[in-house]
Amino acid sequence: MNIVVLAKLVPDLVEELEIDDSGIALDMTWLRLIINELDDHAIEEAILLKERTGANVTVLAPDIEGVDDILFTAAAKGADRLIKIVGDYESGVNNLGLARVLTPVIKDLQPDLILAGVEAHEDLDGSIGPLLAGYLDLPFIGYVASIELEEGKATATKEYPGGLSAEMEVALPVVLGIQVADEPPRYVAVSKVRQAMKTAEIEELEAGDFDLSGGPTIDRMYQPEVGESATIIDGSLDDIADSLIGIFKELGVQ
């Protein structure tokens, strides 16, 4: 059983985001990048499946600054093979471009199961998982919260709104978009990641030229006005607590 997991780095939303001089892209200068949270869940799900079935796990990631960290962290968690796709990401690569480059790479790896976070908060031209499934001519199930593997097939639990979910059976190979792993992504000690840096190897593959055609073009990027509607209550903690109690009373909930 071969599992390929896709992971990428995205801006950390905890940090302030700024738009660059072009007015159509984020200013990357001070941006902190972290692993897409849902990709982290995809890696966790792959490792859990490895622990249950002995599968072999390959993590595949575009070579964006910080990629070595996320790959070595995946190795420390139990990933067997690490591959980064080297290329010119400077001016931005859309998901269509990335999917086109990943398609032959994934074909070569002959996986039974391909996992990716079901979306990333920077996607503007669709999500990488179903785009890849389209190019690879494989079935896709997204918003997956749990996976069981059996000979030649997988059972995936797909989430719908309101806490409803559906158990779907699908023949392998399949691409699954992960919403959440069966267990929260595990913590790995920094010492284990350091260890992985010494023992694990990151293979490099050349992306070549990206074909970005078909993706939308952005003419303007801006931040919605923040704090437009909220009345900010300030003062000492005491004053704030009193004001809040006043508001609760006024609204009839206390």
Binding site: G126, E167, V226, A241, I245, G252
Partner: protein
């Protein structure tokens, strides 16, 4: 030049999802600029009645037992053929666990451009534009909707469901889907939502905890406040994913839509997937250390403080009074 706007109606287990009406409302606006018609596509088995209140010019209803339950493959194959026959200017799908994957599959398989997470649209002189919500709602991006045919996935927030509903039933044409090929996905069963001890959709006062709560043990400070004031604790997704609170307490896109008198958000950033579940609240009050947190965009009252400093004090004062 293509003119018509196709809307893919989402429904699950006999109910049309609200996003479908919002998409119709958006399509009506776009069709004014393109001078085309709004065509709704409904796929299912025995659900023709769901077309009744759609404010579309026409409904194309694909009836087939294999469309009874959603799978991305059957929807994609049906739409692929329909799009090639109708040649619409745009196809609107929900940015949801149904629409998003169908749109991406179609984009790759039919080589159609896709713009995702569209919040609203605008049009002038025949040109139509998208405004998309990126980076957890912190950034908006605008651009022209690619020609000649574009796929669009839409998030809630820009249009009201009422504007996509009509009391006059639309014209419904029933059609057969194509001969499906290579279907690999089958539904085994639905798993019902876990029923909790309380129904958060019926509560007048909700104390919601987000990732700002940091540790499972800290949920206690919210529980104590809830107990003092007579409210119920609910949560954002990361807290539920950690297993700290059950799914029955989850608010948002994948959880419940709540409509309390007061929604008090503690350490919640206000990501769009969360806020879509709280839009029906009468008053939202947010406590967050980050003054730029998007939650302050929809809150009536905001406090920029550390919840660990403020909440215990608030509880104490309420207990005293």
């Amino acid at each position: 030049m293509n003119k018509d706007i196709l809307v893919v109606i989402e429904h699950i287990r006999g109910e049309v999802a609200d996003i479908s009406y919002m998409m119709i409302a958006a399509a009506r606006q776009l069709a004014e600029t393109t001078e085309g018609e709004v065509l709704a596509v409904l796929m299912g088995s025995g659900v023709e009645n769901l077309a009744g209140n759609l404010a579309a010019d026409k409904v194309i209803y694909f009836e087939d037992p294999q469309l009874a339950d959603f799978t991305s493959s059957t929807y994609q194959q049906t739409l692929e053929i329909l799009i090639s026959e109708v040649n619409p200017r745009a196809v609107i799908l929900g940015h949801t666990s149904i629409g998003m994957e169908v749109a991406s599959l179609l984009s790759a398989k039919s080589d159609l451009p896709l713009v995702s997470t569209c919040l609203s649209f605008s049009g002038e002189n025949g040109l139509i534009k998208f405004t998309s919500q990126l980076y957890g709602g912190k950034i908006l991006a605008e651009g022209l909707i690619p020609e000649p045919i574009a796929l669009l996935t839409m998030v809630p927030g820009g249009y009201k469901p009422e504007d996509g509903q009509s009391s006059t039933p639309p014209l419904v044409t029933t059609a057969a889907p194509p001969q499906f090929t290579d279907l690999q996905i089958s539904i085994k069963q639905y798993i019902e939502p876990e029923t909790g001890d309380v129904d958060i959709t019926l509560q007048p006062l909700l104390i919601a905890v987000g990732r700002g709560i940091q540790l499972e043990d800290n949920i206690e400070i919210a529980e104590e406040l809830a107990e003092a004031i007579g409210g119920v604790v609910c949560a954002s997704r990361p807290v539920v994913d950690q297993g700290w609170l059950p799914t029955s307490r989850l608010v948002g896109k994948s959880g419940y839509r709540v409509k309390p008198k007061v929604y008090l958000a503690l350490g919640i950033s206000g990501a769009p997937e969360h806020t879509e579940g709280i839009a029906g609240s009468e008053t939202i009050i947010a406590i967050n250390t980050d003054p730029a947190a998007p939650i302050f965009n929809i809150a009536k009252y905001g406090v920029v403080e550390d919840i660990f400093d403020l909440v215990p004090l608030l509880t104490e004062k309420i207990e005293e009074s």
